[in-house]
């Protein structure tokens, strides 16, 4: 079963992403979410999600830092990390790349794009 984790300190962003991804629950997608970096880290260890949508600005740990930890301390190629940000700065994109992020999506995100992206990464049939 494919697993995806949503990490964002803003509940409404979590809800929106969950709602988008719910469309794929019947195709075997399991959705987890976390409101802060430490909770996310625990879920990653217990559930081993293949895909993580990760907010950059969080109170306890920045998305860059969590991304770096995932890529360095865990199997770097096994977990696909997509950074989410309301900031469209080119420097953030660059920082994300350096932290090892596989993708970068700006808010407000395009729902169809998230679905397409998820299907592609997790090899789900449309």
């Amino acid at each position: 079963m494919a697993k995806v984790l949503i990490v964002d300190d803003e509940p409404h962003i979590r809800i929106l992403l969950e709602r988008i991804l719910e469309a794929m629950e019947d195709e075997g997608l399991e959705i987890f979410s976390a409101g802060q970096g430490n909770d996310a880290w625990q879920i990653i260890h217990s559930q081993h999600p293949e895909l993580v949508f990760l907010d950059i600005v969080m109170p306890d740990m920045s998305g860059f830092e969590l991304c770096r930890r995932i890529k360095q301390e865990l199997d770097p190629a096994g977990i696909h990390v997509v950074l989410l940000t309301a900031r469209g700065q080119e420097s953030d994109r660059e920082k994300g790349k350096q932290a090892g992020a596989d993708g970068y999506i700006t808010k407000p995100f395009n729902p169809s794009l998230i679905v397409k992206y998820t299907r592609q990464v997790l090899n789900l049939e449309g």
Binding site: H12, I15, L16, E18, R19, I20, E22, E25, I31, P108, F109, N110, P111, S112, L113
Partner: protein, 445 residues
């Protein structure tokens, strides 16, 4: 909505654990597939409460004794989740609109080809709805028929096909108003057309006050298109209509311009038989050079135009002078004026003003001894330096087609002799290379 995720939230888990403690009876929550998600496995439940959302079974609560507090709490959680979902859907619709406006609108309105715009519009219409098919049709006023420009999925019409203005699409065109028909079989307008389509959404392509066609999406499965989706289709159709109109104006303008260029080129050739075919050959050689220099397709098109028109100023030279094989000194001076005349003439056509400097400078020499301004080196516009090489080569060959190896080799040698004095050596080099590469020379030896 999955029960598993509903009861995985910390605040929910806390409440159901409290309820269980108070109830002091074995109780478990199961998924719709019968998997125990929380609590106790209850072998012979006395009470079984179904958890449902919008009539769909999500799971159930089994208990040795009915636990009404747990039942109503989960009912409450489900109801709240439904509300959140609805709000989320509403927000996501807006997100979709924003994504469409920012992304596709820009692509559509900056495209200059009608087919390309139609393709983009259809692609977006496909992305933004759950429709199974769709089509973009333009309306031909003269024949009063639709012509299909682009389609996707289960659409029954094919690209290029013509169709009478009828059915819902015809009605949308005539009334100039978008429409949803969620049960096409009950609609008298399309019932007779025998289509497999069950639901349809159609918007007029507008350009200012004119309606130029329609954009529609359809489904072979019955579905409910929403007013929100129709709004998006209408916005997409408006932008598409305007972009298509602009693109056709642009194409017409380009066509008109090319006709003017043709007329001008012919006018010179009628006047001066020596130049017959010369403009075309110079354009051909110039393009060879331009390609080799890696110019963009857009720049190549401008270069071709400049090359075709480089001698246009000969219109202003006395016929007698043009016809003379050997020119006296004063006549030579008059004929030199043609590059300036040409520039002045073309300066009147705004759309080709960018090539005027090239026409004016095509007789400038690399060493600065040319006319009319005596500029030198890279002060001479690139197009002018290219045309000068092509022009010299054609006059060396005396207008003969380059099908003879000997002639071409001699011509290239003469050309190289003029390199650095008359002609830009770099461009001469590139031209020789281009001729060799493209097997223009020597293939028939």
């Amino acid at each position: 909505m999955k029960v598993k995720r509903l009861i995985s939230k910390p605040e929910t888990v806390a409440v159901i654990n409290d309820i269980k403690k108070t109830a002091a009876t074995p109780v478990g929550i199961y998924s719709e597939a019968g998997e125990l998600l929380w609590g106790d496995a209850v072998e012979r439940p006395v009470s079984r409460h179904e958890i449902k959302a919008q009539g769909k079974l999500l799971g159930w609560i089994s208990a040795a004794q009915d636990v009404p507090a747990l039942n109503s709490f989960l009912n409450y959680v489900v109801a709240k989740e439904e509300l959140i979902n609805r709000l989320a859907d509403e927000t996501l619709e807006r997100y979709k609109e924003i994504a469409m406006y920012t992304g596709v609108m820009e692509k559509i309105t900056t495209s200059l080809g009608v087919e390309e715009i139609a393709r983009l519009a259809i692609q977006e219409a496909q992305n933004m709805t759950a429709a199974t098919g769709g089509a973009l049709m333009l309306w031909d006023k003269k024949s009063n028929k639709f012509r299909v420009l682009s389609t996707f999925g289960t659409e029954e019409l094919a690209v290029g096909q013509e169709r009478n203005v009828a059915g819902v699409s015809g009605s949308v065109l005539q009334k100039r108003k978008a429409e949803i028909v969620n049960d096409l079989r009950a609609d008298s307008r399309d019932a007779a057309l025998g289509s497999k389509v069950r639901s349809l959404m159609c918007a007029p392509l507008k350009s200012g006050q004119d309606v130029i066609g329609i954009l529609r999406v359809s489904s072979v499965n019955p579905m409910e298109f929403s007013a929100g989706e129709l709004n998006m289709l209408v916005s997409l159709a408006s932008a598409t209509g305007m972009a298509i109109q602009n693109a056709s104006f642009y194409a017409e303008l380009k066509q008109t311009l090319m006709s003017i260029v043709q007329v001008l080129v012919q006018a010179v050739e009628i006047k001066d038989p020596h130049t017959s075919g010369h403009s075309k050959r110079v354009a051909h050689y110039s393009i060879l050079i331009g390609k080799k220099l890696g110019l963009s397709p857009a720049r190549l098109a401008r270069l071709k135009l400049a090359a075709l028109l480089h001698d246009i100023g000969k219109i202003g030279i006395d016929d007698e002078i043009l016809k003379q094989p050997n020119l006296s000194l004063p006549d030579q001076e008059s004929i030199k004026k043609h590059s300036q005349y040409g520039a002045d003439l073309l300066n009147h056509i705004k759309e080709i003003r960018d090539i005027v400097p090239a026409v004016r400078a095509h007789h400038e020499r690399f060493d600065g001894k040319g006319f009319p301004d005596g500029i030198k080196g890279e002060d001479i516009p690139l197009f002018a330096r290219i045309i000068a090489v092509a022009d010299s080569f054609d006059s060396i060959c005396d207008g003969h087609e380059q099908d003879s190896y000997i002639v071409s080799q001699n011509a290239l040698q003469s050309l190289q002799a003029r390199s650095s004095t008359e002609l830009d050596p770099e461009i001469v080099r590139v031209f020789c290379q281009a001729l060799n590469d493209q097997d223009q020379v020597g293939s028939s030896s």
